[in-house]
């Protein structure tokens, strides 16, 4: 579903590339998490998947990015929106400001695709239901709390039913950027780690999230891994989730 080959990208007027020689394949339906410290290139990679790089940001791009058979650099943004949806890190930047209610806001993108009315209503209802916003449908987007606005941003994208979602929910190929490592380890099938614009880890959540080199690179670690590491038990695999931590400290039960 996602095929990236030797992707290197530099924003305009900058010296260092934001992404360097990244190659990556994500099969259809996989849920993978993208982790890494600030400035690792996580957001840039999301922009590259969804076409904002290079269509909006310009800059210098080499290598190829294919999403759902479309070559992103050679497909214009209106054609990419049905293939890949990106939920911005900052939801406040995503709300259109052109609609008065939550329901209308979720319908906004669909109206722009020129879908029939019944279909729009159906997809809006489904997206509101999935994100738990149904009771808030009549509210102004600006009368929502920060967290609710984030869910609204997600609902607006889910309603477009893209094939790849750079964030949440199944049956789609999902790339989620997160610092919440316990959550990532519990739900993601695969974890991809970036640091300094490079791919530094890729694999099973447990392997990637306990790799000392990645902890060192600023990816972070759960308190479970941290406690287990410092407890100094040699030879046992470090835990990332609660269940794994309970197993690790099994002999210390009361």
């Amino acid at each position: 579903m996602i095929e990236i080959e030797n992707l290197t990208y530099r924003y305009p007027l900058t010296d260092a590339p934001a992404l360097q020689d990244i190659s990556l394949r994500v099969p259809r339906g996989q849920f993978c998490a993208l982790v890494g410290p600030n400035e690792a290139g996580k957001s840039t990679l999301c922009y590259a998947l969804s076409g904002y790089v290079p269509h909006f940001y310009r800059g210098e791009l080499s290598g190829t990015i294919r999403v759902a058979e479309a070559e992103v650099a050679h497909t214009d943004l209106p054609h990419l929106v049905s293939k890949i949806g990106l939920v911005f890190q900052n939801p406040f930047n995503q709300i259109s400001g052109a609609r008065f209610t939550v329901r209308e806001e979720v319908a906004f993108g669909l109206e722009n695709l020129g879908l029939p009315r019944e279909r729009i209503l159906e997809q809006v209802d489904e997206a509101l239901e999935l994100t738990g916003l149904t009771p808030l449908g009549a509210r102004s987007p600006y009368a929502l709390s920060g967290g609710q606005q984030q869910r609204l941003a997600l609902a607006s994208i889910i309603a477009m039913q893209p094939q790849v979602l750079v964030l949440d929910e199944h049956e789609m190929t999902i790339v989620l950027v997160s610092h919440k490592l316990e959550w990532v380890a519990t739900f993601a099938e695969r974890v991809i780690a970036l640091a300094g614009g490079r791919l530094v880890g890729d694999g099973e959540p447990l392997d990637v999230l306990t790799d000392p080199a990645l902890v060192e690179a600023g990816v972070g670690q759960t308190r479970y891994s941290q406690a287990a590491r410092q407890a100094g038990d040699q030879g046992k695999p470090l835990p990332v989730t609660l269940a794994q931590a309970v197993e690790f400290f099994d002999a210390d039960r009361r």
Binding site: N38, N90, S145, G146, Q148, V219, Q230, L242, R253, R254
Partner: protein, 270 residues
């Protein structure tokens, strides 16, 4: 400087009732975490503490000031609020100008302003980015600029709305250190957060909110072990408390150090 929230209710103009009879007293120098799910009223409460919002009923006192009788400019001398979304707050062309804006408006001498700005930038680790345009920084760094802009004003009360959201491990640790230092300096630090691990490590008192009300308020260790209250507020206990509970321990460790100390004790007694 004491903060007293007395029976405060607040409805937004559209009719949303965000606070329903909240009462809370925070003494000078306390470090308090306010937790709860989306829409619980946390941000609305924070905006009452610096006078951005005035209660529909009830009152908020910050020291001897009733927030309803003070201008926001006046309130900002006592309570510094760091917004959840830094873009609501940043408007200058450079990081330095942004951080200078607050203290300059307090009427300090230029040398004092400069010193406060340098010190605030150093605390958040952005000294070298002083001449950068805030929007050339990443969102996570812009959050640190917003924090520095508040720190530079030397307010007795510092309010942080979701300080760790979107921050990497290194920045979370840095923010934790900043909180600890403010607390050690005797300033009141109040944070709104979903990150209970962070709250457990840096705040001595926790307030749980849901549906515009206070569900629980007390020492962090006690509050974060009240499973039913946390479940009602749709927040998850900190990782180490969940682990200790799953292992059948009576102890409720708030930090990795506390967890390891208890572990060593248990292992010695075996």
């Amino acid at each position: 400087m004491q903060i007293a929230v007395e029976q405060v209710s607040f409805s937004y103009p559209g009719g949303v009732e965000a606070l329903r009879g909240v009462s809370l007293t925070i003494e000078a120098g306390e470090a308090v975490a306010i937790v709860g799910e989306n829409g619980a009223g946390k941000t609305t409460l924070a905006r009452h503490l610096n006078g951005l919002l005035k209660p529909t009923s009830g009152r908020v006192l910050v020291g001897d000031w009733d927030t309803a009788e003070q201008s926001i400019a006046q309130m900002s001398r006592r309570v510094g609020l760091v917004f959840q979304n830094p873009d609501d707050q940043l408007f200058e062309r450079t990081v330095r100008a942004e951080v200078t804006f607050g203290p300059r408006n307090l009427g300090w001498q230029p040398a004092e302003v400069r010193e406060a700005v340098d010190e605030a930038l150093a605390r958040v680790g952005l000294s070298e980015a002083a001449d950068t345009h805030p929007y050339d920084l990443h969102l996570a760094q812009r959050k640190l600029v917003a924090l520095a802009a508040t720190l530079a004003m030397h307010t007795p009360v510092v309010l942080l709305d979701e300080p760790t959201t979107g921050q990497d491990a290194v920045s979370v640790e840095r923010i934790g250190t900043i909180v600890d230092r403010l607390h050690a300096e005797g300033r009141t630090v109040i944070a709104i957060s979903h990150d209970l691990d962070f709250c457990a490590e840096h705040f001595e008192r926790a307030v749980v909110m849901a549906e515009g009300r206070v569900l629980a308020d007390g020492p962090t260790r006690q509050v974060f072990t009240r499973g039913e209250v946390l479940a009602h507020a749709a927040v998850e206990a900190p990782q180490l408390i969940r682990l200790a509970t799953a292992l059948g321990w009576e102890a409720a460790p708030l930090t990795v150090e506390e967890f390891l100390a208890r572990l060593r004790e248990l292992r010695r007694s075996r």
